[in-house]
């Protein structure tokens, strides 16, 4: 099982991503610098979190134009599993690999805390190890996680089962009170039409060790391995 982590200037959760992928696949991922134009042969590509290009212009906007993103787009088309977390999600939307946009949190503040998430669709490469409707607990750490898309797109995402994760409370209740950043319909993570690209704001890679205070994120990475083997 081979995996790769893309590194842009300003990315800062690459080691967290590497640790999670290594734990799940048993092998250290290859780190690919953004200036490269080619990707190694790999089953999983992860675009980690951070502040690529300092979030200047718009979160993810400059990274989306990096040389390596052409190769990432080709792999996406070829059906390779691609996971974008936090800034990675922002980069994937800016690159047009996922619909919608991530706007400033409704509170206008950076938020770092654990949050409950409802797994809405377990029939994906990213969530096959979870039970439908399962409530999991991952941290978030972002300033711009407020998911926006027009209602037509949102209806389509919902209709096609492409809303994979939603912010909720411990009992799975999805309502405005549990919407921590103002996202449309409490959306925390979506997949593309083909189902091989997932973007999500929360950090499963920071919930993989009992010392983190929880291991709910492990199943997400296990799902990737399960789907690819």
């Amino acid at each position: 099982m081979k995996s790769a982590v893309i590194l842009f200037p300003g990315i800062n959760r690459e080691n967290d991503a590497i640790a999670a992928l290594e734990q799940a696949t048993g092998t250290k991922p290859t780190v690919v610098w953004h200036g490269e134009t080619e990707l190694p042969k790999t089953d999983i590509i992860m675009v980690p979190g951070g502040f690529s290009y300092g979030d200047y212009l718009r979160c993810g906007a400059m990274a989306a134009k990096s040389p390596i993103m052409r190769a990432v787009a080709e792999r996406a088309k070829a059906g390779v599993t691609i996971l974008g977390v936090c800034n990675g999600f922002q980069i994937l939307t800016e690159a047009g690999l996922l619909p919608g946009a991530l706007m400033r949190n409704a509170s206008l503040k950076f938020i770092c805390k654990n949050t409950h998430l409802k797994i809405e669709n377990t029939n994906t490469r990213f969530t096959n190890q979870y039970k439908t409707g399962e409530v999991v607990d991952y941290p978030v750490a972002h300033h711009d996680g407020n998911f926006f898309a027009d209602s037509e797109t949102l209806d389509r995402l919902e209709g096609e089962g492409r809303v994979v994760l939603r912010y909720c409370d411990a009992n799975g209740a999805v309502d405005p009170a549990t919407n921590l950043n103002g996202s449309q319909r409490n959306i925390a993570g979506i997949i593309n039409e083909a189902g091989n690209v997932l973007g999500m704001m929360p950090h499963p890679e920071n919930a993989i060790d009992p010392l983190h205070g929880g291991t709910d994120g492990r199943n997400l990475f296990k799902s990737l391995v399960e789907a690819a083997s």
């Binding site: 967290d16 300092g54 950090h203 920071n206």
Partner: protein, 736 residues
């Protein structure tokens, strides 16, 4: 060219504007053997500013203990270095950015965080944890919300982008900070113990290299500003506050660490306060060499910059290095990859002089040692703070019930939850955060091991105000206790000495007393000072801050499988108080908040008892007998227990002692104490007995309320609302 730079006449007014008094200017003339030109005068001005020269504090800082077997580098370098075993070292320091943060809170705080991280990675360490110690004016002062909001956003804005978790800190409010807030930022980094980088330049003929951001006109004379009192026109000093760019610093961090993995660097120093002047003089002075700088080669942000501006700019995210000869191209390739400027701007010479060249012409020529080392050192007159009487518990009105007092205290600005602050800091990035903010100390795992680094910042300014010696001791003891409470072995501290105008004997006396107290505690607890920073002149219109020697403590947990947190974990545990209750109400929050009295002798610190209790608690945690531990600090025993209940969401019933003042027992802030929860109280009591440490069962965990003697109680839900509610609702009012 800017010929006018060289020829500006040096008038007495100009000398005064540069913050040099007559005596000091006489010394300048003596050292130069002639009248300095404007460039040279500017250099003297920043090098001899209080901020860079420590001229008022040096005499006393020298008295602090700085040695232990595990100290690799004490004060005097960019940061302190301690051995944490397994070939690794922890590198850390705390530094103030008080004056700039008051004038421009976001950028002031952000660049404070940027500066302290640079100090740590300059030494070859990757920053792994940030902390801070913040003091603001009283909550209803019109500026407090704006300052708090800007400072927190600035700290988060910089640290979050850098990808370094902010794992702890403390925040106080008091009227004495109305005109002078304190923003102290601390960074802890990790390095290989055999690959630490220092600042002493060496190798005549070696290239002097500038890397990082370009130099602009920002922050000129920042160090001089930070060495003067504020007045009503201080807001006009905004242009002297630097602007931070955390993205560039992140690139600089990665590029420097990449270069440090090679063998190309001889010496390296970050450009912080007083920028190129301070970094070049310090490197040359430490190495006993001379430097020739070609200022026209410095990467510049704008056109028309003068040598004067280049030497004094405090533009951020810059480093000065001495490379081994012939390494320039290979080193440049690394900085090119990270898209950062890299310029050879000079050469080391054997002249022991700093020669500044501007397009081939000499723009300044100064001797290095007299400037860097022979800066003025004052033995300022000081007077001790008169002692206050111990508060007699019989003088307490006792009008308020214990439970009502708890409810008031836990919702007060002093004790209300700081969640609103630390949820704006990424405290999880790097994936190694084991104990998050909100406990006694933050803990991060040493990547790839089962070891942890614990870190905390502590000071109780009202104690220091009342008795600088006891207050100084207490700040160190509390840092020690907070580390112990997680299961860490306390190793060393960094001190950030924030005081008023040292030219006033009473203020100088506070400084001297605090140093004495800190020194006593460091010696008794085997907890030396390895780095520090002094911020004086924290006064506005003659009103000074409470003396605030903030202590940053660092310790190591050898096995994270055995560490403790403050939340009660099981409802069948007994609660045991470790350490003796003596009922000290002087300067307590109960006295201030419930009785409206800010007075009395602060709780004395028995350093021997402190050490015995600390060693016992750490042993209990290491043995796995205790997983829940909290030190007793602000607010006293009942507040400590309530915090443990809230953190674990399990209540407790407290048994009052049979005799003595209940208020003093519940709310006294006696030092050297912890509350632990255990299912094996006999073992704990026995261990305490043989360690000669007072220990007594004070209650039982269980239920969903904090109860006193099975009677009066308050539900955890209500307590939580009170504790968590204050700061969000206070800050929400800012919007209106």
């Amino acid at each position: 060219m800017s010929a006018n730079d060289f020829n500006t006449p040096i008038t007495p007014e100009l000398v005064k504007e540069h913050g040099l008094n007559e005596e000091e200017y006489k010394l300048v003339l003596e050292i130069m053997g002639r009248e300095p030109n404007i460039n040279e005068l500017g250099i003297f001005s920043v090098m001899w500013s209080e901020h860079c020269s420590y001229k008022s504090s040096k005499k006393w800082l020298k008295t602090l203990p700085t040695k232990a077997d595990w100290v690799i580098q004490g004060p005097g370098e960019n940061a302190g270095v301690i051995d944490i075993g397994d070939g690794q070292a922890a590198v850390f320091k705390m530094e103030s950015h008080n004056h700039p943060s008051f004038i421009e809170p976001y950028q002031g705080a952000a660049t404070g965080v940027g500066g302290i991280m640079r100090d740590v990675f300059t030494m070859g360490a990757r920053p792994v944890a940030n902390l801070n110690a913040l003091r603001f004016g009283e909550p209803d002062h019109p500026k407090t919300r704006h300052l708090l909001s800007g400072v927190v956003e600035g700290i988060g804005g910089y640290g979050n982008c850098m990808g370094v978790p902010t794992i702890g800190g403390e925040t106080n409010f008091h009227a004495s900070y109305n005109g002078n807030i304190l923003v102290n930022a601390m960074t802890v980094g990790l390095a290989d113990a055999d690959n630490i980088f220092y600042s002493a330049a060496a190798g005549i003929g070696n290239p002097v290299v500038y890397v990082g951001s370009k130099t602009g006109r920002d922050g000129i004379h920042g160090a001089t500003m930070a060495s003067a009192e504020f007045d009503d026109d201080s807001d006009e000093k905004r242009p002297t506050v630097q602007v931070g760019d955390p993205f560039t610093e992140k690139l600089l961090l990665e590029a420097c660490l990449e270069l440090m993995a090679t063998d190309m660097i001889v010496a390296i120093q970050d450009m912080g306060a007083a920028g190129l002047t301070s970094s070049s003089f310090e490197m040359a002075s430490k190495g006993g060499v001379g430097v020739e700088l070609w200022l026209d080669k410095v990467p510049m942000r704008e056109e028309g910059m003068t040598p004067y501006e280049l030497m004094l700019s405090e533009s951020q995210e810059r480093m000065l290095m001495v490379l081994k000869p012939g390494c320039e191209d290979a080193a440049k390739a690394i900085f090119d990859k990270w898209e950062l400027d890299f310029a050879v701007i000079g050469i080391l010479t054997d002249t022991k002089r700093m020669v500044l060249k501007w397009h081939g012409e000499v723009a300044g020529d100064l001797p290095i040692d007299p400037l860097a080392e022979a800066s003025p050192e004052y033995d300022r007159p000081w007077e001790p703070t008169p002692k206050q009487d111990r508060i007699d518990p019989a003088s307490i009105s006792g009008k308020v019930s214990h439970i009502d007092a708890l409810k008031t205290l836990i919702a007060s600005p002093d004790l209300a939850s700081r969640r609103w602050i630390w949820e704006q800091y990424d405290h999880l990035v790097m994936g190694n955060t084991i104990v998050r903010p909100g406990g006694d100390a933050g803990v991060v795992r040493v990547s790839g091991t089962n070891k942890g680094i614990a870190a905390t910042t502590d000071c109780t300014p009202r104690y220091v105000m009342a008795d600088p010696v006891e207050g100084g001791k207490q700040a160190v003891a509390e840092a020690y206790r907070n580390l112990v409470a997680t299961g860490a072995k306390p190793l060393a501290i960094t001190d950030n000495m924030n005081f008023g105008n040292p030219e006033r004997p009473r203020i100088m006396g506070q400084f001297v007393g605090a140093c004495q107290g800190i020194a006593e505690a460091c010696i008794a607890l085997d907890f030396p000072v390895v780095s520090g920073n002094v911020s004086l002149y924290n006064e506005t219109n003659g009103v000074g801050i409470m003396p605030t020697p903030a202590i940053g403590g660092v310790g190591v947990i050898s096995d994270l499988g055995h560490h403790a947190t403050i939340g009660i974990k099981r409802d069948d545990s007994a609660l045991i108080m470790i350490g003796a209750a003596t009922g000290e109400l002087g300067q307590s929050l109960y006295l201030k908040t419930i009785e409206g009295r800010e007075e009395g002798a602060p709780p004395p610190v028995d350093l021997n008892a402190e050490k015995r209790a600390g060693m016992l608690v750490r042993e209990l945690i290491e043995l796995g007998l205790v997983r829940t531990c909290h030190d007793i600090a602000d607010g006293g025993l009942l507040v400590a227990v309530a915090e443990m209940c809230l953190a674990g969401n399990i209540g407790a019933d407290l048994h009052l002692p049979e005799s003595g003042s209940e208020v003093a027992w519940l709310f006294g802030e006696d030092q050297g104490r912890y509350v632990i929860a255990t299912r094996d109280p006999d073992k704990v009591l026995n261990a305490a007995g043989s360690a000669n440490v007072a220990a007594v069962i004070i209650g039982q965990a269980g239920s969903d309320a904090v109860t006193i003697d099975g009677g009066a109680k308050v539900s955890l839900a209500e307590l939580r609302d009170l504790n968590e509610g204050w700061m969000p609702s206070y800050m929400a009012e800012a919007v209106q």
